[in-house]
Amino acid sequence: MATTTASLAISSSDLQPGNRLSINASSLLMKTGLTEGLEILDAGTGELTVAMSTKKLNDALGTADTSNWMYLANHATDDTNYIEVGLHDTIIGRLYAGDWMFTPWNMSDAAAEWSIEAEGGTQKYEYAFFKSTYVLANSAQANNSDGTPDVNP
């Protein structure tokens, strides 16, 4: 069984005067049902330009209502640049230069895709999806001996 651990540390000595902030959290990321570790990883890097408009980062091609996780980081260095992150048609938030996010992903239905859009300038990003399940999309290529496309059952 694969083991994936996600840890977080948030700290500030001056956000709340007189009350030093220190949050530490760590958890194992498991499949829905929590008896098995996640076994599917989809990760990479990319570059977004403003001209690209909104781009799909990941489709909800797994089983709906399951335990999946997304990590996304904006590697830009210009403080005025940001990536707008969306889930389906809902704007989640702005990931400014240097920011990262980590969130569960329910894959509520097939429309629950993640999208990203660069604002202000070209930006490099890094992502990782840890998933419970995944279904490969059908290929349009002919791969049967008679030249007809294979069709998944």
Partner: protein
């Protein structure tokens, strides 16, 4: 100017070679080198109902800002969880549901508090048994 840092570390052996993610960020205001200066404070809540409840209202933050939201299921249950998402109708096939937080799971996301109740953030327990959740917004 306040300085708040958040560091994530993820390690995994899903592949045949180790995966490791390590990244820190300083929470800054939108388009600025200055840090976020406001917060909801760290909240902790005991939940004994499957009725959705509001964690953060859109009016608490600035539209188009660089606010961030932290939520953690501070319990230990391996079977029960909190749905977290937008609006009160959180559930399995509800598109505004972001995801599930089982015992110990946490999330940290940006929050564009669009000036509408559609961008209020809610949580909903999967059980009426006692569950605990902690949450905090870093606000612009």
């Amino acid at each position: 100017m306040a300085t708040t840092t958040a560091t994530i570390s993820v390690s995994s052996n899903i592949l045949s070679y180790p995966i490791s993610i390590n990244k820190s960020m300083t929470m800054k205001r939108a388009g600025s080198c200055h840090g976020l200066e406001e917060t909801s404070g760290l909240n902790s809540k005991k939940v004994e109902s499957v009725t959705a409840f509001k964690l953060f209202g859109n009016a608490e933050a600035t539209v188009g800002g660089a606010s961030k939201v932290y939520v953690r299921n501070s319990g230990a249950s391996t079977t029960d969880f909190f749905y977290v998402g937008y609006g009160e109708d959180l559930g399995a096939a509800t598109i505004e549901t972001i995801g599930r937080l089982y015992g110990g799971n946490w999330m940290l996301i940006p929050w564009d508090a669009v000036a509408a109740t559609s961008h209020d953030i809610f949580a909903k327990s999967s059980t009426a048994e006692p569950m605990h959740i902690e949450y905090m917004a870093f606000i612009e």
